[in-house]
């Protein structure tokens, strides 16, 4: 029950009259209830076409014997999978890939984390340092690989020239089966530690200050603060960093392709590289498809496990 206005009442509303009844209320309701699909559908359709359909397609191809030329495509069931799993080279490249994942991920993680911790302690030139330190991640992996090939050349590379200044004899890291894999991993770490560094730094910036300040006041040692406060509080961030690094390391292709092309003696061959070769050089499409499905299963399993840990901590969607 309103009182009569005690100042001059506003004139009649500017609003349009009752003319905008929608064509059909039911239609309107329907579109309202499902309006999100209007926004999502185009993207979703494209993603289904460019991701899901290819995977299904690959699965299909892997059950037949298909080559570039083949006119007939006999159904062979799981034979391609069997052959792939029984193939030494496939197993070898899977193990190499595992090696990359373990060492590249842990290496870049430790280095990136350390740099994130260190850069908090500097003042002047912080921006410049950060800018320089993230350069590797912006470079195309193929460029990184080629560049380090040049750096590591046994006779003319800068690395050996530099070592030579200190009287250390020439190293042939990329050439030896025993060191090539490690060398490629080191280059991979060189390229990807900034990812960890950036993620951890961003994560640390979001940490509340209070617990750290009170711990300092209470005289807790830096190491204990790091172990009992920093690490647990950064858990989701750390998981994100590890997850992203893992999937990236898992699909390593470009760097190896240009640095060693899988050699010497297949010691640096990765799954991606091996499957590429199988399909496009050796003309065994369906076997490569089977291999890629196996690869997808493994990475799916790994990331599903990591995601489960992650979603425990992070709200998504």
């Amino acid at each position: 029950m309103a009182r009569p206005p005690n100042t001059q009442p506003m004139s009649k509303s500017y609003l349009p009259g009752n003319t905008n009844q929608p064509f059909s209320t039911r239609l309107y309701q329907l579109t309202q209830r499902h309006r999100h699909w209007f926004f999502i559908a185009p993207a979703l359709i494209v993603l289904l076409t460019v991701v899901i359909y290819p995977i299904l397609f690959s699965t299909g191809v892997s059950l037949f014997r298909v080559t570039f030329a083949s006119q007939s495509r006999p159904f062979v069931g799981l034979q391609n999978f069997e052959r792939m799993l029984g193939n030494d080279d496939f197993i070898q490249s899977a193990l190499n890939t595992l090696y990359y994942v373990i060492f590249s991920v842990s290496g870049s993680f430790v280095l990136g984390f350390a740099i994130a911790l260190l850069i908090r302690r500097v003042t002047a030139g912080k921006e410049l340092l950060r800018l320089i330190l993230i350069i590797p991640i912006t470079m195309a992996p193929i460029v990184v690989g080629l560049m380090w090939n040049w750096m590591l050349d046994p006779l003319f590379g800068l690395v050996n020239w530099f070592l030579g200044l200190f009287g250390i004899p020439g190293q042939t890291m990329l050439a030896q089966a025993s060191t090539a894999r490690l060398t490629v991993v080191l280059v991979d770490i060189w390229q990807w530690y900034p990812l960890v560094f950036l993620i951890i730094e961003a994560g640390m910036a979001t940490l509340p200050r209070a617990p750290f300040e009170s711990a300092r006041l209470e005289g807790v040692s830096s190491w204990m603060i790091f172990r009992r406060l920093t690490l647990p509080m950064l858990r989701p961030v750390i998981l994100v960093a590890l997850l992203l690094r893992t999937v990236d390391a898992f699909r390593t292709f470009d760097i190896v392709r240009v640095m060693t092309d899988g050699g010497p003696a297949l010691t640096t061959e990765t799954l991606s590289l091996y499957l590429y070769r199988t399909a496009f050089t050796f003309n065994k499409l369906s076997r490569a498809a089977a291999g890629s499905i196996l690869m997808l299963l493994v990475i799916g399993l790994i990331s599903a496990l990591m995601f489960r840990y992650l979603y425990r901590d992070v709200e998504v969607g």
């Binding site: 309103a2 009182r3 206005p5 005690n6 009442p9 500017y14 609003l15 905008n20 309107y28 309701q29």
Partner: protein
Amino acid sequence: MKVVLKDLLKRFANAERAAVNKINLVIEKGELAVLLGPSGCGKTTTLRMIAGLEQPDSGRITIAERDITDLAPKDRRLAMVFQNFSMYPTMNVYENIAFPLHAIKMKRKEIDRTVREVARLVNIDHLLERSLRQVSGGEAQRVALARAMVRRPEVFLMDEPLSNLDAKLRVQLRTEIKRLHQDTGATFIFVTHDQEEAMTLGDKIIVMNNGDIQQVGTPHEVFFGPRNAFVANFVGTPSMNMLSGRIVADEGGYRLRLPGFELSLPARFADGLGKMKSDGVIWGIRPEAIKLVSAPGENTVSGQVELVEALGSRDLIFARAAEQLFGVIVDAQESVPVGAPCHLHFAGEQMHLFDAASERSLLNDKPPQSPHRDGGRLCKDGDIHRIATNSPP
């Protein structure tokens, strides 16, 4: 414009219960109705459904007999003010206010006239050329008000417009909204979780919880005649003292057995108590209704003062008696030091009783009529005290 909500239901995806559970509500033309409730009670969802920002799962909404349930927000002829100032940061104050007028293709000259007129109404005509970065929170909300008014809508929806402001500004703007309501004569629907804001603003308060309307009434009805334990507990600061107890029939009446003490109940509960199926009740009394008396007696418990909070002219005392903590409001002059013994008297006519099972009030369903219905909208706490003593038995 009369706003009617009929069987309005909204359930969000992945939610266990309905956000708004088939509510029915009538808001009369020119009324200032306040939707009050804790966060998540469905009040904002209700408002957003009226605005058309959420689509109800079922039920209808009509404004002035016009069914708007299936209209786009822009066609509902209403305005809305949001909690977080909802400014358009790429536009300056003037453009912000003019923005709604562009939608109805008004002529530039008329836009200019209207914008300035509205800006004057909310006292921001000196800010028009400023960018939003140069505008304070209170001013920003005035801009929002101006933007809402500029199309001269017949229904204003306000979604906690004051809660992001500091206390002083809040009071100031509250008055201004009140004045605006009177000046425009439009229907206002105001959402808040702040029951003091609801009391001071509302012609009608709609208390909501868990998607249901708990009570509809004037501020006094809601304050003095809570229909259920939730409303009793939610409305009023400091909140009502509440204890679970059992009813024992006594000769000629009922007694209430509470942990540690017993009370005799006034006759006005007799009807309600007679209909009860079990003996469990929730007893409640407002801190303002507890009296400190000098000696123990009927409906009195003895205890000790544990804590005193100064509220200004009055003190809020927490006294422990019969192992329970009671909040009591007393005049500052009559305050008692911490540790002092005290006797708390519970006046029978100010007690509330609720069925423990249904949490419904045991008084008859008709809420007590406030004797101050016309003048009491802005009444002070002292008035409430006076009214309380005058409420009918």
